[in-house]
Symmetry: C2
Amino acid sequence: MPLRSDWSDALCPIRRSLDVLGDPWVLLIIRDVLHGRGRFDALRESLGISDAVLSRRLRAMVEADLLVRVDYPDGSRTRQGYAATEAAAELLPVLQQLAVWGERHTAMPAGGAHMALIHDTCGNETTQGGSCSACGEVLLPERMIWVKPWKKARDRLVPAGVLTMGETSAAPPD
Amino acid sequence: MPLRSDWSDALCPIRRSLDVLGDPWVLLIIRDVLHGRGRFDALRESLGISDAVLSRRLRAMVEADLLVRVDYPDGSRTRQGYAATEAAAELLPVLQQLAVWGERHTAMPAGGAHMALIHDTCGNETTQGGSCSACGEVLLPERMIWVKPWKKARDRLVPAGVLTMGETSAAPPD
DNA sequence: AAGGTCACTTTCTTGAAGAAAGTTATAGGA
DNA sequence: TCCTATAACTTTCTTCAAGAAAGTGACCTT
């Protein structure tokens, strides 16, 4: 996904990762998709992204094997949305590490609150992204609950391939 | 560091992190600075970034408290370079997780090779970014060695505040 | 005095971001 | 049947940063 430079054949694996992930929207889209919010309009609402940019990003992310198109029912018809691939699901450690870092090193805005990352296998909060700081186990999306006090929500993440049909609308930006 | 959108007061900590880190260059600059390569021309060479963009990024990163300006000796005079802050040093888990992900999910280019992340406290390779997958200890920069076979180098990382004066030139892009 | 190094700044072109409006397809209701 | 609504886009337009190349100034060595 070259924005300006093409880093897909860089020798350093970090640089190759950033060739795909270095756009500010990509990780946020994966975050939402790992919450099951993979519908176009749900993403647009949650992200506050323009239609044109979202459309481009989604296409590029399918191309980069981060997303797959999946069907979901809308009343009597079938619509198309997006779900995470295994590759995207394995970015959970990165996302969680970014969440931990953001809480430590960015200023909490008015109305904000601590987002706890709960490993429901052991029931404890983890302060690490890859493995649980409480029980040591490797963290998988479907075993994680993100507690977001500012939206009064406890969100259980979903594994690769899943698109939930829930909450038809009216979710504030996240 | 708003590129287009300003996310500094987002409620989600991931989004606040990406307000600072969502530019593709920022994490690569931190990677280099954690190798002690914090001189302007060393960064330019290693990154293949244009002077203008590097200068802007460095200024913004100092502003965002990711870098500090430090002195280093150049013969008989003193010059200025950049070193990581504590905030930047605590991005090590993110960088290492990105390295692991990149090795799993991006195609190794011709001439590439596996980059091993060695925790020299226990002597083993870790497959996790935050804590050592072999001994469980939290990973600190000064205890990590990154083995880069494509440059025949074993690079020991440096803690916050350090700028090494080493290798005057001729390092290939990384 | 001339040349080199380092850390920038300036100038210019190209192309993506973002905002707003338009498009297509399908469904449900009057 | 026509009207409206919804979802998933695409199109158009303006603005602004990326990237490339060249220029600047401070300081040093020869």
